[in-house]
Symmetry: C2
Subunit: 481 residues, 2 copies
Amino acid sequence: MFNKRTKIKDLLQLEPASQEVVVMGWVRSFRNNQFIALNDGSTNDTVQVVATLGSFNDDLLKRITTSASLKVTGKIIPSLGKGQKMDLVADTIEILGHSDAEKYPIQLRNKPTLEYLREVAHFRFRTNTFGAVFRVRHALAFAVHKFFNDKGFVYLHTPIITASDAEGAGEMFRVTTLPVDGTAPKDVDGQIDFKEDFFGRSTNLTVSGQLEGELGATALGEIYTFGPTFRAENSNTARHLAEFWMIEPEVAFNDLEDNANLAEEFIHYLIQYVMDNNRNDLEFLAQRLADEEKQLPQDKRSELGLIEKLEFVLNNKFERLTYTEAIDILANSNHNKKKKFQFPITGWGMDLQSEHERYLVEKHFKKPVILTDYPKEIKSFYMRLNDDGKTVAAMDILAPGIGEIVGGSQREERLDVLTERMQQMGVPVDELWWYLDTRRFGTVPHAGFGLGFERMVQFVTGMTNIRDVIPFPRTPKSAEF
Amino acid sequence: MFNKRTKIKDLLQLEPASQEVVVMGWVRSFRNNQFIALNDGSTNDTVQVVATLGSFNDDLLKRITTSASLKVTGKIIPSLGKGQKMDLVADTIEILGHSDAEKYPIQLRNKPTLEYLREVAHFRFRTNTFGAVFRVRHALAFAVHKFFNDKGFVYLHTPIITASDAEGAGEMFRVTTLPVDGTAPKDVDGQIDFKEDFFGRSTNLTVSGQLEGELGATALGEIYTFGPTFRAENSNTARHLAEFWMIEPEVAFNDLEDNANLAEEFIHYLIQYVMDNNRNDLEFLAQRLADEEKQLPQDKRSELGLIEKLEFVLNNKFERLTYTEAIDILANSNHNKKKKFQFPITGWGMDLQSEHERYLVEKHFKKPVILTDYPKEIKSFYMRLNDDGKTVAAMDILAPGIGEIVGGSQREERLDVLTERMQQMGVPVDELWWYLDTRRFGTVPHAGFGLGFERMVQFVTGMTNIRDVIPFPRTPKSAEF
């Protein structure tokens, strides 16, 4: 019954010639008791509905308030006004749902801040900013699947609940059906008896699907994951979420160079896809960012506009260098010599801080950077040991304004080297018997990486707080909606 | 370095004319010390590598065992043998990783059962059956995204960790960083003080993204979710998982009929996509199912083969009828009169059991059925009350051999009716303030449904146990890998 409506995105593509149409949507604004800007979420654009003076009674007109929902029938004609292609001259207007202008949470403030909109996240999808952000997020997610599908990768759903806490990527959330009030059953040693828990053991939320992804890749050849991952870290920053989505491709027979090539091609593809398919939303977001930055001092503003930044990334190869080369550049930089780093460059072996990464990307190279071959001491056990015995075949991709967007490596495929590294780093060899089995039976060189999806959405939309690119952010002390 | 390899799926498309190629993969079999069937996961098909007698030393040949990994260079020529199009005559064979035939878990048994393969799920991807299952699963997942993207839906990532347990869809898992050993902080009443938990409140794993999905749909118009959902139910059956993936579209301005149309079109699309893109895998799975059913008594076998069943579903509209009509059919059936139902048909208002659904689908209509308009007492609070005051605008889609594959409804958009239903059913109105807000401010008719992804994969692959269509099943007392 209702599906005869025309979506506003499609409507605005038509050449207006008095066609009869039905549209439904929410009121964005109502001017002069006559002009309704109606939006249905299919685009940020609105159709101008004209309620001809005298044709509708005052009771109805009073109920046309911001975020009221309407069903309108009428004809589209070339617009007499400026700023739009067509007017929809209403024959009938039906109020589907009214909206009390005094009480509507977003109406209350003239220019709601992003902070405020997080408190009413159930309605922020109705704003231009978040409409654009979440359509772009969708487009990026679809582009992820299309990129890998076109290459013949298999999308593998790795488990969310896991008994393994071996990767050590961060603090984990416990998943349990045991009571937490002290009445959970205990074993003979007085310890909680996790045999009585739902899964018969202690379980957590996954921090990464990589290890299981390797099981898939060493059989199906090329796989990727795209699912939620979790960190129980008490980080209340604009860069951290307790629940976020990650994409982790894993490819048999790839080495580190193949891995970097894949990641660079992937990031280019995602950006190009959004440029081709969401130009309207990007232009809106570019203007939003420019307006936001007008309030910043000149030296804090971006050198490039949002779309110029994306075009720049598309048109330039990522800079590739080793950790060792990066340390040299940083140590010899004027920035370091003038002691402008909070953490001075102490030499080879140190972990790079965010300020160092930003210096390389934003000041020195002025483009995305792929750093490779880090000291083994500061990287994970599963990364392949290089012939120098000191570094591993790791790679991080650093993006302007975002920092680390990709972390990956060629994996250690040699059973003896891997086992020794695990022992050195205190990773439980017994628990990971299944992981080591892939090295026991037909091991192959392979490589993969993880891309933080929200960081990518931030990069493309220009939103500075990660909480503004996921529908309902989960952060310390906050799990609303 | 490694990326010059040709994938076997692509290789087998070539016309062999002595081209030089590099392939890598795992040994499936080695006959006559000469013919290696090599697989790389890109297809179930293998390429026949010929190790010409006398050209390779015995030490090497001895290490060509099942699941050993090889790098082979050589030339492809038209095959002299039957059963394959080409031979790859090896110039060099390099053992990338050996595999001890005595110890390799799958080698140990001649014809490993599906049950046994679940215990070695880290290697089951290397079998023909699971290679086919997981490539089909991938294709279905991609088809889900393509279907909705092409229609302009927005993919919405609804939260996995949720403070709401309002939907009452089932038992939930607790997510916590509090200790479970009795040392968790308590409030003045002696109750666990969840203000001290990570999110400052008691949190669980989601059972459905629907309520948050409605927030998206009533702003963006058309959304869908595709993510993991959880049930902490102690159901050790071939139909239940504690962790499974669900797809939940939600559409503003849709009524129940639109909703049923969308679901039927969606299911047809998914099946057609796999028929078009994974014919090879489907043919393998059809043969597997036929072989499996040979061991069943005649009357337990499927009437149609797997591919015939899928074609039948594609070529026939789903039968649509109301719950009331279904009760009539069941009550008047010979099956009921002869008291063959374990649960007799007691009349209008009773909940349908699996045996009743199967009778309707498999015996009476012999095709998928959409049942609508159930008694309000046996359905959820958010389903729209029909004008009769007795039934709600619910729909279940029942599939042969699987049972319920879709559950959905038009949602109750009227604030007063919804609030009254919530109070009657004991759903906390205060907690769901944000959900009710969508009915307070510009409410619109809308509808949606949930499709259990694993049930769909089962339907298309013919796998009878749900644990065999998800990479690493989570079930009571089991969270291995």
